[in-house]
Amino acid sequence: MTLHSEDRAMARRLIRGDRRAFDRFFRDNFPRLFRFAIARLHGDEQATAEVVLKSLNKAISKLDQYRGEAAMFTWLCAICRNDIVDHLRAIGRYREHIVLVEDSPEVQAVVDSLAAGVSMSPEANQNRRDALRLIQVALDQLPPSYGDALEWKYIEGFSVAEIAERLCVGREAAQSLLARAKRAFRETYSALTAQGAETLP
């Protein structure tokens, strides 16, 4: 079993009251957890805010139980998933619980649609939209700096020098980080598409 020692250290620093650890904990996890929840809450921003607030507070209360057996973000998603179910039950919409593409064992077929290019078929286009969202989900599974660096380089078009500046590292370190990020993205995306919901946070 891989122990997530960096995340464990983060939990210990949070327990001790280290404010810089809190800043990083929130900066690294809130945006991703918000995306995780809003996709499952019918796009309702206010409900998402309440659920995420509840989940993060619950996690803070249970930090001493976090052993690093899963990544911190995976652990947060597990808590959030339960809170989402509770919320949907409370408002009587549990039966409408959204099954996302990444929660489906048939996800591979959806991903394959990417290779097919744009289609005029509504079903194919929906599959294509799902598959593209899966890319964003995969980015969220990476360490935050990896996801950000890939987005900056390939979507926003930043140069390696600009990424280095944003990450406060040297040019070579940024180049190396990008290479690792690509490798991690490929592995995460493949795992995501091959294994379905069971392994997902």
Partner: protein, 322 residues
């Protein structure tokens, strides 16, 4: 992992194409991010403070247990109560510079769980649920944690529980304050917390220990332990700012006697009638409109329209017939 998946042959070009098609990941709106952060931060700070107090409390218990086992019964915490789901916290009066979640306060603002309210050179009065009145002095920061908890990060917070039994806990770095039908004020600073009780009773939780303060008492808590007790009069100047930002008195259809009760409660003065006739006049006189002046400023103006007059002496408002 499937070995035949195109991702295993991820070239720069394919990666770029996929990411461009997917587009940037959506981000939470700034106001929501700020609100959630406030709520989580307040909870984290309170949790850290609780853990520290618990550690200190456990040490205290260990020492005390060797002296007297009976002492342990005093250290029980009260059971937690569940929050009501739809409680409304709204701003009823504000003056000067007040910010909510980083934006200037606007009329009819409602505070959601996690909302942070910051006063600079300003004050604000809140209606918390059906009965509670909360008032923030200048240079004060609070966060609404949930329906029954407010985190006072710094500054002064005044609470009037009215006639109701709504629960409220004020968290500070140095302890938690709860009330039993009362008017009181909590002041939080980096190094200490002060609580002043104007009427009724409050309890202050210090880790596993609990202390109480009654009407007219003050408490000073430094690093999780009670250090000083003092006294405060109900009409002391310490309450003046809270009176100045008191919510307007909705006079329409209410009696003059109810108005006089409000003035007395807000000013910390006793109310006396000089005669039975004066009391009867106050009870049968009905008011119209709304009183937005400070209670003591409004008193002579409202009475001007009646057959009554008031004099204030030695902590008492004496109301008599002209």
């Amino acid at each position: 992992m499937r070995n035949d998946h195109p991702m295993n042959e991820l070239t720069d070009e394919l990666l770029e194409s996929l990411l461009r098609q997917a587009g940037p990941r959506p981000v939470a709106p700034q106001d929501i991010a700020a609100r959630v952060r406030s709520g989580v931060e307040a909870h984290w700070e309170a949790t850290v403070a609780d853990r520290r107090r618990r550690r200190l409390g456990q040490l205290t218990v260990a020492v005390a247990a060797s002296l007297a086992l009976a002492f342990l019964t005093l250290l029980k915490l009260p059971p937690a109560t569940g929050p009501s789901p739809a409680l409304t916290v709204s701003v009823v009066r504000a003056a000067g510079e007040v910010m909510v979640d980083g934006a200037p306060l606007v009329t009819d603002t409602r505070l959601k769980p996690g909302s942070r309210l910051v006063t600079g050179a300003g004050r604000v009065a809140l209606r918390w649920g059906a009965e509670l009145s909360l008032r923030l002095d200048e240079e004060t920061t609070v966060v609404r944690v949930d329906d029954e908890t407010v985190h006072l990060r710094s500054g002064q917070l005044y609470v009037d529980s009215g006639n109701g039994s709504d629960a409220l806990t004020i968290r500070t770095k140095h302890g938690r304050v709860s009330h039993v039908g009362t008017q009181y004020l909590v002041l939080a600073r980096e190094d200490r917390m002060n609580a002043l009780v104007r009427s009724g009773r409050i309890s202050v939780s210090l880790g596993q220990a609990m202390v109480f303060a009654d009407k007219g008492e003050t408490l000073e808590i430094v690093t999780g332990a009670e250090t000083n007790r003092g006294t405060v009069e109900a009409d002391s100047e310490r309450w003046t700012w809270a009176r100045q930002i008191a919510p307007p008195f909705d006079a329409d259809g209410r009696t003059l006697a109810q108005f006089l009760d409000w003035v007395a409660r807000e000013s910390g003065l006793r109310l006396r009638f000089g005669s039975g006739e004066a009391r009867a006049i106050a009870s049968r006189s009905t008011l119209r409109g709304s009183v937005t002046l400070e209670p003591m400023e409004a008193l002579p103006i409202v009475l001007e329209t009646s057959d009554l007059r008031a004099t204030v002496t030695e902590g008492t408002i004496l109301v008599d017939k002209r």
